[in-house]
Amino acid sequence: MRTTLSQQIQSSLMFTDVASQKLTDAQNHAASGKRILKPSDDVPGTSRDLSLRSSINSVNQLADNVTVSKPTVDATESSLNDLAQVIGNIQLLANKAANTDYTGNATESYVTQLDGLMGQLVDIANTKFGDQYIFSGTATSTPPVQANPGPVPDPAVQPYIYAGNNGVRTTQVLSWVSLPVNIPGDKVFNFDSGAGHPAGAGTTDIFTMVKNLRDAINSKDVTSISAQLTNIGKNYDNVLTCQAQIGSWQGRMDGAQAVLSDTGDRLKQMLSDTEDIDLPQAVVDLKTQENVYQTALTITSRMLNLSLASINLTQN
């Protein structure tokens, strides 16, 4: 093949072009730390990359859901603890009252104590977490327990009514698991008392229960006081059941959090495997391309200098 000046220039350009392009590529990848800088770098990889990013976003959001909801559940749990304690106190008081010999003004101290406990119950029922009433179902801006305005039901029979609803707020903690974060007050305080309620038939709501006990003590009728004990016991059990429920949700939220943090780590690792460069490899590549480019330049400059024209042809 004939070798001509333009041909030499052409091939030199070709080699230096290719080498400098590869060097730039290697530099871009090494400097950014990314294997995939644009979709065409790795088409299936990009698709996987986007999918992983989306999954990571989902997992982060679910973890966020747990973080946001867990305090509400915790607050509910601590309120239920308080509630159980108050009902326990009522139970003690009722037992004591049932075994009292009512002479003189002995009822007064019980009644005063009961009024105090009633106040505590209303406070617990209307506990707020942040701006939300935790026992009013999904009607979170309504105080769940309010004085009965009458006429139906009769305020003389039922002193307080439930103003919330039985909605359950749920939060998605795993893509396939939604957990409730609240127990509606009608369950806890037994407003929906009846055959279907866990507290059982023949029970009343907790506030009516206190009122009935107070009435019985006021009447100084020991038999009537003792009769209240069954209702109190059943309501106490009901609160314990609610506590158990909350406890299990807390446990599942903790479990979900562990799963999410695990999944998140694994997804991030996969994303890194997909889009990040193998750094030592990238540095070796960069070095190699540098050398190739350097060589191409050196060869070009040497070759283009070589010509008969550059040798002194002055005649003798």
Binding site: M1, R2, T3, T4, L5, S6, Q7, I9, Q10, S11, M14, I36, K38, P39, S40, D41, V43, P44, T46, S47, D49, L50, S51, R53, S54, N57, S58, N60, Q61, L62, D64, N65, V68, S69, D131, Q132, S136, G137, T138, A139, T140, S141, T142, G164, N165, N166, G167, R169, T170, T171, Q172, S175, S178, N182, E275, S307, L308, A309, L313, Q315
Partner: protein, 483 residues
């Protein structure tokens, strides 16, 4: 017996020939760096055998010529290789154009990154989860509207960028057509000049070189076939229709079609031009098929987003207990990625479907009371409907893909097309380089060769001069002989 001065004439023709050869050589060297230049060579032939000369009687001695003739100056070229080179240029220009347009598209969508449309989509779905968890929190609801707005604007932006590219391609098409017309006109003029000059003279060679260069440039813009070499027989055609024949030029023009795109037609009768390669084909393909396809895919994403989210939002109730309305604006002319936006008040306002933009309380996060069951749902703390909307992220649309998958497919398509274009551009560049090298090997100027020839011509000139000198001596000897 030859004439007295015959030898001097022979030597003189040698001197003249070597000098002319040196002129051509100098011209070659002067143009060594012009890539369109084709090296030239002086054709040397033996001088005519002179029948009427002193050698009239051939018997006993052989006749010989009258010196050296320096005739035509020919261009060294291989039309076959040049043809292949032109084809390689057409293909290479085509893929190069596609590659640069596709990489522009890739940077428009900016994936994969933490700031692309995918991220906006994910944030949008996440915001629904946030509202689901805290449906009674106004900041969370405002956050959702902001994320939704960001998503709309991103879709608008990407769509606009793609439409802008179509606009740019139209401008480029017009530019390329005028470039073709200009080059075709120039070729026609050159043909005219070439015809009026005698063939073989240096100026004609230069004109031919210029014409070859123009044909090469033309073949980058559009695929052409060229045949014939003479003035009138020189024909360039595009898609079977003649563009240039001799001095006659058939110009192109652009016509705006129904989509507002500049289509290429013949100026003479408006018939469309059959374009099968070159930049112009890349431009029209990108403009008429590739990019509109991507815009359509993006529109699909927007449409399904609007349909599914609106449908579910309408099933819920808002913070004030009113029935949910549209979340995104539902344009009667159809939703596209270019116009997607949050639902705003129509004029006059539709009381049954008030605006959601600037009204975070209008987000229908709750599910209304269900008369079928006695369950009382839908307080302000109920986020069940928001959960359902958040779960649309993983729900397949009527296309069989989720909205996220539809977008991923678009990115994959752009990436795939771009990767193909890059590979093809590289491969075609390689073959173009090969043919260029081959062509330059034949037609380029080799300095070594010219230098060697220089010595050759120099020595021959020296020798011819010497012959002349000796001849002169001999004549001297003859003239000055004392007889």
């Amino acid at each position: 017996m030859s004439g007295t001065f015959f030898g001097i004439n022979v030597a003189e023709s040698g001197l003249a020939a070597q000098r002319r050869a040196m002129d051509v050589l100098g011209y070659n060297i002067a143009n060594a760096n012009d890539p369109t230049y084709k090296r030239q060579r002086l054709v040397l032939t033996e001088g005519q055998f002179l029948a009427q000369s002193q050698e009239a009687n051939p018997i006993g001695s052989s006749a010989f010529g009258s010196g050296v003739n320096s005739g035509d100056i020919e261009r060294i070229r291989d039309p076959l290789i040049e043809n292949r080179l032109r084809q390689a240029m057409t293909a290479s220009a085509n893929w190069n154009y596609r590659q640069s347009a596709m990489s522009e598209l890739e940077s428009t969508i900016g994936e994969p990154s933490d700031t692309g449309l995918q991220n906006d989509l994910d944030n949008f779905w996440s915001s629904w989860q946030k509202v689901a968890t805290q449906p009674d929190s106004m900041p969370t609801r405002s956050g959702l509207l902001q994320d939704a707005d960001a998503l709309c604007q991103r879709l608008n932006y990407v769509s606009r960028q793609m439409s802008d590219m179509v606009g740019d391609l139209n401008l480029t098409a017009v530019d390329r057509v005028s470039k073709i017309n200009q080059m075709a006109g120039e070729i026609g003029l050159l043909n005219n000049q070439i015809g009026s000059l005698t063939s073989g003279a240096v100026p004609v060679n230069d004109l031919l070189n210029r014409r070859d260069a123009l044909v090469q440039e033309l073949s980058k813009v559009v695929d052409i076939t060229q045949h014939g070499d003479s003035q009138e027989g020189f024909v360039i055609s595009i898609g079977g229709t003649v563009l240039v024949q001799g001095t006659k030029v058939n110009k192109l023009k652009t016509v705006v079609d129904a989509n507002g795109n500049q289509q290429v037609g013949w100026e003479r009768d408006g018939a469309s031009v059959q374009i099968n390669g070159g930049e112009l084909q890349a431009i029209t393909t990108l403009r008429d098929q590739t990019i509109p396809g991507y815009i359509n895919q993006l529109d699909q994403v927007a449409q399904h987003l609007v349909t599914t989210v609106n449908e579910q939002n309408r099933r819920g109730i808002d913070l004030n207990g009113n029935a949910g309305g549209d979340f995104f604006q539902n344009f009667p002319t159809g939703v596209t990625a270019a116009n997607i936006t949050l639902h705003y008040d129509s004029n006059p306002p539709d009381v049954s479907n008030p605006a959601i933009v600037d009204h975070p309380e209008r987000i229908a996060a709750s599910i209304p009371d269900n008369p079928a069951t006695t369950v009382v749902e839908g307080g302000i703390g109920d986020g069940s409907n928001a959960v359902l909307i958040a779960q649309l992220k993983d729900a397949p649309t009527t296309t069989g893909y989720t909205i996220n998958e539809m977008y991923r497919n678009l990115v994959g398509d752009i990436g795939g097309t771009s990767a193909t274009a890059t590979t093809q551009a590289k491969a075609n560049q390689l073959s173009l380089d090969q043919f260029t090298t081959q062509q330059q090997s034949i037609s380029g100027v080799s300095l070594d060769e010219e230098m060697t020839n220089m010595i050759k011509f120099q020595q021959a000139y020296n020798a011819a001069a010497k012959v002349l000198g000796v001849m002169n001596d001999m004549l001297n000897t003859l003239v000055n002989t004392n007889m």
